[in-house]
Each structure stands twice: as structure tokens, then as C-alpha cells.
């Protein structure tokens, strides 16, 4: 059973292994990165910072998820366990143990990585669609554990989480300071994913996505690579979840519920799976959309479901995937496929 989504196996969408025009594109890529970063630095002057922080958290979450689906071809239906789990751990560490915020976030992410190690170890025993079902089932188990564990306070969640002072110096209760802290975490996580994807390790991951049997026959211990990628993805998703808990000063069951796992899939799909920038674009769109829908009184789930169906039926490359394809057509003067 091939486990690579069709558009992810499309080299134009993958963002790597480009035959021609590669240098031009990477040049374009770094220029874009600088512009986006500068934009993000001044953005809170124009846009409500809490809204921006929310987008950044989800963008990082989707980027972590995409590391797995886009580059290894593993569809995890249980990433909420890492996102929400880390939110609980961070919130507990910051509120009850009085951890410094960065340490609390790292503690949350490490906790997510441990959950990821367990879930990943079990899930990679099955392939393709079974992998998705196993991750979904195990994350549901994590949900019930958090529902019943005393430290999570059940339906109430952990409320009034203090943002604290970053390395004892910067007071994060100031929204703008908090924004730059979130931006820092985002840039770190985003860069980490970028680095992983472009490392030799990342290339093996993509080889597994393209043809797992071939990778096995070349002597790669595929399970270890998969598990490694799974744990990294869980850790970075945990960074996002822990940061979100500090931003909103609350950790609730919403973040561990299966709906959250679905949302991150949608963000990645809409933005373009297997592209570095796609998940962030998708996250921005979905969060913005949810904001508008919440005010409009339209049923959010229905709209989200419709976008899901449309994406799967006619828009499998996603926004960034389509953009890259168009750029390539231009660059080469002939249609690629």
C-alpha cells in the first residue's frame, strides 16, 4: 500500500529535489522569509496581537503536523494529544510549580514528546490508513486520561495560568512582550522543521514517503526514522500547545479533543501539504475564518466540513502548492504535467 498522498509525491509540491530553477527559487524563498519575518515583527502595530499569537501557535502546530504528513506521508489523526497535552503540562508547571515561562513551555513540549514516543511506538506497527486509526484511538485515550486525571480539573481545565517573567526579566503579562516571545518560539520551531526536512535525516524521511519498501531494501531502519520524525513532530506540536496555554492562560479539553486533530489536518491541507510555508498559511486562514464565523452565527463545523470536502475533491495541492506549481510553469515556460 502506498502511503504517500498524491500531491505530496508530486515533486513540484514537495519543495525539494527541484530539477531546474532551484537556485532561483531558494533565492526567492530566503527573500520571502526575510519579508515575512519583518512583517511579523511589525504586525502587532496593525493587528490585534492576541489574534496574531493564536495564528502563530496554530501555524507552528500545523507545521509540526506537516513534518509527518507532508514529508513522511504519515497521516496522524491524533496530534491533539500532543498539542493539548503540552498545554496541560505547561499550564500545570507554570501555575502549580511556578516554572519560568520558557521552561514551562519546554516542559510541556517534552511531555508531548513522551506521549509521542508511546503513541508513535504503537502506531508505526501499522501502515497507511491503520496508522491514522491507531493514532486517533490512542489520542482519544489520552483525552479520557486528561478528562479524569485530577490535575487537569476535568471540564473546568486549568484556569488563570500565570504568564510569568521570561528568564526572570521580561514581564509576559504585557501583551506585546508576550507576542515577541510567541514569535520567538514560532521562529525556532519553524526553523527546526525546515532544518529537519533539509537534513540527510529529512531526505531519508522523504524516501520513505516515496517508496517505503525501497528505503527498507536500501538498508534504512524505516521504523526508527518514522518514530524519530513522530517524536520530533510531537515535540514541536507541544511547543505550540504549551505556548498557546500561556497566551490564553488556560488549558482545556478542547485542545486534546479529536476535533483539534481534524482542524490541524485541514490547516495543512488547505495551505498545501509537503510545503514548508503551506501549513502556516492554512492556519492563518482557518483561524481568521473561525473568527469571522463565530461572529456571523453560521455553523462553524459545517463550513469547516465543506472546506474539507472541497480541498480533498478539487484542491489537493493547497494554496502554497498551487502557487509553487504556477511559479514552476512560468519558470520553465512549459507545463509540467
Amino acid at each position: 500500500m502506498s502511503s504517500a498522498p498524491a500531491s505530496a509525491s508530486d515533486p513540484t509540491a514537495a519543495g525539494v529535489g527541484l530539477p531546474r530553477g532551484q537556485h532561483r527559487l531558494t533565492g526567492l524563498g530566503s527573500a520571502l522569509a526575510v519579508i515575512v519575518l519583518l512583517g511579523l515583527l511589525v504586525a502587532p502595530l496593525a493587528v490585534y496581537p492576541v489574534f496574531l499569537m493564536k495564528i502563530l501557535c496554530f501555524a507552528l502546530f500545523a507545521t509540526a503536523f506537516n513534518l509527518l504528513l507532508g514529508y513522511v506521508g504519515l497521516l496522524s489523526f491524533g496530534h491533539a494529544a500532543f498539542f493539548g497535552g503540552a498545554a496541560y503540562f505547561t499550564a500545570h508547571a507554570a501555575k502549580v510549580w511556578g516554572f519560568e515561562p520558557l521552561l514551562a513551555v519546554l516542559f510541556g513540549a517534552a511531555g508531548a514528546a513522551v506521549i509521542g514516543l508511546v503513541i508513535g511506538f504503537l502506531a508505526i506497527r501499522r501502515q497507511g490508513i491503520y496508522f491514522s486509526m491507531v493514532t486517533l484511538a490512542l489520542s482519544q485515550m489520552v483525552f479520557f486520561v486528561f478528562l479524569q486525571a485530577p490535575f487537569t480539573h476535568g471540564e473546568d481545565g486549568i484556569q488563570n495560568v500565570p504568564r510569568g517573567r521570561l528568564i526572570g526579566l521580561f514581564d509576559l503579562s504585557d501583551t506585546l512582550t508576550m507576542y515577541y516571545f510567541v514569535l520567538m518560539v514560532f521562529v525556532f520551531g519553524f526553523f527546526a522543521v525546515w532544518r529537519i526536512v533539509h537534513s540527510p535525516f529529512g531526505h531519508v524521511l522523504q524516501a520513505i514517503r516515496e517508496n517505503e519498501n525501497r528505503a527498507v531494501s536500501l538498508g534504512y531502519r524505516v521504523e526508527r526514522y518514522k518514530l524519530g520524525a513522530f517524536v520530533m513532530s510531537a515535540f514541536i506540536a507541544g511547543l505550540a500547545g504549551g505556548t498557546k496555554a500561556l497566551v490564553f492562560q488556560i488549558a482545556t479539553l478542547t485542545d486534546v479533543a479529536w476535533q483539534m486533530s481534524g482542524e490541524v489536518i485541514l490547516m495543512t491541507l488547505l495551505g498545501g501539504l509537503g510545503t514548508i510555508l503551506g501549513p502556516s498559511v492554512g492556519a492563518g486562514l482557518v483561524v481568521t475564518l473561525q473568527n469571522y464565523l463565530a461572529a456571523s452565527g453560521l455553523p462553524v463545523t459545517v463550513v469547516i466540513g465543506c472546506i474539507f470536502v472541497l480541498c480533498v475533491l478539487v484542491f489537493r495541492r493547497g494554496l502554497v502548492g498551487e502557487a509553487i506549481r504556477l511559479l514552476h510553469r512560468r519558470g520553465q515556460g512549459l507545463p509540467r504535467r
Binding site: R126, S132, M133, L138, I265, P299
Partner: protein
């Protein structure tokens, strides 16, 4: 009072009955999932939503048409099967040539739409649905009191499971179906209309889910989220049983329902997660599932 390991026997029987009822629904739903997956290679995430819609159709028939349980037992599955057939024909069938993950994602989107719609119009609260008057009351079995309707559900689901098993394993239509599972191109070359077979199979699976929904309506309340919470457990059941076999889906459905019931007696805190724990153990010991063949 007689006890077993400190648990009074009536409580044990009561929980066993609840486990058997839940197991009946696990079996019906995982059976439908297995039938659909066998031929279409699609994990039907919308299965829970179709189950919920089945229950809602019964509820709406009663509320607006004064049409009772027995008619609903026929009409609701037919309605859901028809709508599902249209969805399969117009949308889902376009995804077969792609990776199977897209089928899962499509049906996930479908599930969100269905649940969102019903929650928008009917709210998240449960709507009561009376059990049919013919099955009111209960029977004293000597060691416990059995509500008639619950006994009916257990028998009905067993009958349906055996009927579907016989349809697939013992009839010529079933033989064609199994052949198409093995090699669709070859079967098509023999002049069998495979796309039609796919549509009918999806409709059958969805109809089974709706049937389960109607059966469930008087036991659990009719509410928009009733399907999703169930379907995730059913996914675990399917992983435990192994997708390959119809018998596996049925047997593990009942078995896990009963195990869950037992857990509720002896260690209630774990009753929510026991199915998932068993899944983890099965994955460690027999990755292909209890009844599955090594993939």
C-alpha cells in the same frame, strides 16, 4: 446477597447486559466499516454520522409524521443508504484512484458537515425517543430483569450480523463482491459492473449504520454527537479485530462491549479507555489484529 469478588451479582449482570448492548452496536458498526473497507478501501469516517442521521430520521419521522419505530426501522436505513449512494457516486468515487488517506479525509469532512447541520438545528442536547409499545416492559429471567426492548436489540443485531455475513460469504452476489475485492479489473473484465457494486456496497454499509442508529435511538438519546464518540471506539475495535474478516469485526465488537461492561464493574475509572488499552496490547502482540491476516 450473592457476590463475586465483592461485586453483587445483579450489578454484574446489569453491567454485562449494558456491555452486550454496546457490543451489539460496536459489532453492527464495525461490520459496516469492514464491508465498506473491504471493497472500497475507504475508512468511512462518516459512519458515526450516518448512524446519528439514522437515529435522527427515526426521531423526525415520529415527531413530524407520527411514523413509528417499525417503519423507521425500514425507512431510515433506506433514506441514509440512498443519500450515501448519491454522495458515493458524485464525490467519493473520484477519490478511489488516489491514496486511501483522501477517502478518510473526505468522509471526515462529511461527518463534520452532517454533525454540524444537526447540531445547528437541534442543539447539542439529546432528544428522547420512546421504545415501541410492543416491546414495553420487561421479562424476569430468574437471575435478572431484562427490559424487552434491550433483549430485542441484542437479538436483532445478531440476526442482522449473521444475515450480512451470509450475504457476503454464502450468496453469489457476495461471491462477486469478494472477487471484486481481490481483483476489481478482472471482475470488470468478466462483465460485472464494478462501479455499481461499489456504490451498492457503500449504500449497504451506510444503511447498516443507520439501522444501528434507529435501534440505538430508544436506548441512548438522539443527539448530534452520538456517532462520533462511538466511531472512535469502533475504529479501535476494527484495529483489534483486523479489517480482513467480517467474522472478526462481529466477534470483536461483542467481545469488547462485554469486556467494557466488566471493566465498569471491577474498575470503573478505566471503562472509558479499556478498549484503547486492549488495542495497544493487540498492536504489540499481533499487529495485524486478532482475526487479520499479515498485511
Amino acid at each position: 446477597m450473592t457476590t463475586l469478588l465483592g461485586v453483587p451479582l445483579p450489578a454484574l449482570y446489569g453491567q454485562l447486559l449494558i456491555g452486550l448492548i454496546n457490543g451489539s452496536f460496536y459489532a453492527l458498526l464495525s461490520l459496516g466499516l469492514a464491508v465498506i473497507f473491504g471493497l472500497l478501501r475507504v475508512i468511512n469516517f462518516a459512519h458515526g454520522a450516518q448512524y446519528m442521521v439514522g437515529a435522527f430520521v427515526a426521531f423526525l419521522l415520529l415527531r413530524f409524521g407520527a411514523i413509528g419505530f417499525w417503519w423507521a426501522l425500514i425507512l431510515a436505513p433506506l433514506t441514509v443508504a440512498l443519500v450515501s449512494a448519491i454522495i458515493e457516486r458524485t464525490m467519493l468515487s473520484r477519490l478511489y484512484r488516489l491514496d486511501h488517506l483522501y477517502g478518510l479525509l473526505f468522509t471526515f469532512g462529511l461527518a463534520l458537515i452532517l454533525e454540524g447541520l444537526f447540531r445547528h438545528y437541534w442543539g447539542a442536547a439529546g432528544q428522547p425517543y420512546p421504545s415501541p409499545p410492543e416491546l414495553a416492559g420487561g421479562t424476569n429471567l430468574g437471575f435478572m430483569f431484562l427490559p424487552n426492548y434491550r433483549g430485542f436489540v441484542v437479538v436483532a443485531s445478531l440476526v442482522v450480523c449473521i444475515a450480512v455475513w451470509a450475504l457476503i460469504e454464502k450468496t453469489s452476489l457476495g461471491a462477486t463482491l469478494r472477487a471484486a475485492t481481490e481483483n476489481p479489473q478482472l471482475v470488470q473484465a468478466f462483465g460485472v459492473n464494478v462501479p455499481l457494486l461499489l456504490t451498492l456496497t457503500y449504500a449497504l454499509g451506510a444503511g447498516l449504520a443507520a439501522l444501528a442508529g434507529v435501534l440505538a435511538a430508544p436506548i441512548y438519546q438522539v443527539n448530534p454527537m452520538m456517532g462520533t464518540n462511538l466511531i472512535i471506539i469502533v475504529f479501535a475495535v476494527v484495529v483489534i479485530g483486523g479489517m480482513g474478516s467480517i467474522v472478526g469485526a462481529i466477534v470483536s465488537g461483542y467481545l469488547l462491549g462485554i469486556l467494557e461492561g466488566l471493566t465498569r464493574v471491577f474498575y470503573p475509572e478505566a471503562s472509558n479507555i479499556v478498549v484503547f488499552v486492549i488495542m495497544a496490547v493487540v498492536l504489540l502482540a499481533r499487529p495485524a489484529g486478532l482475526f487479520g491476516k499479515e498485511a
